[in-house]
Symmetry: C2
Subunit: 80 residues, 2 copies
């Protein structure tokens, strides 16, 4: 089972990487960009075949390792 | 218009960050993990309101700045 985990900085947390990308896009004359946020996408391949228990497992992985829940939000998406 | 760009290493390119996460998950006794790949997710807020021209703009951004197309693939998703 393939599971996507999208990890993004919480709203209000300074995203210096996003700011740098925004700046670079401006320098390259890409106008009309209002905001850029850079996050992580983790793709997991699990043995688990049951979607709900896979989601539960991945939630535990996020809470204990993948995300820093003080400053980051995560979303779990079961792909197949 | 909100646009997501998912950037991942091409298949076959060594993902050392993914390997490290996989190792850490093993150490934390999360069994049944076959593979871990770590990529980037960039969230752009654009002034553009037309989906197809937004996609075109973001494709150019990916080709010229956001992705290293030698080793990375990118996917563009128009959210709203």
């Amino acid at each position: 089972m393939k599971v996507l985990v999208n990890i993004s900085l919480k709203a209000g947390v300074l995203d210096s990487q996003g700011k740098a990308v925004h700046h670079a896009l401006d320098a390259l004359k890409f106008d009309g960009v209002n905001d850029v946020r850079v996050g992580k996408q983790i793709v997991l391949q699990l043995d688990e075949t049951d979607a709900s228990s896979a989601k539960e497992q991945v939630t535990q992985m996020c809470e204990s390792l993948l995300a820093n829940t003080v400053i980051e939000d995560y979303e779990i998406e079961i792909v197949s």
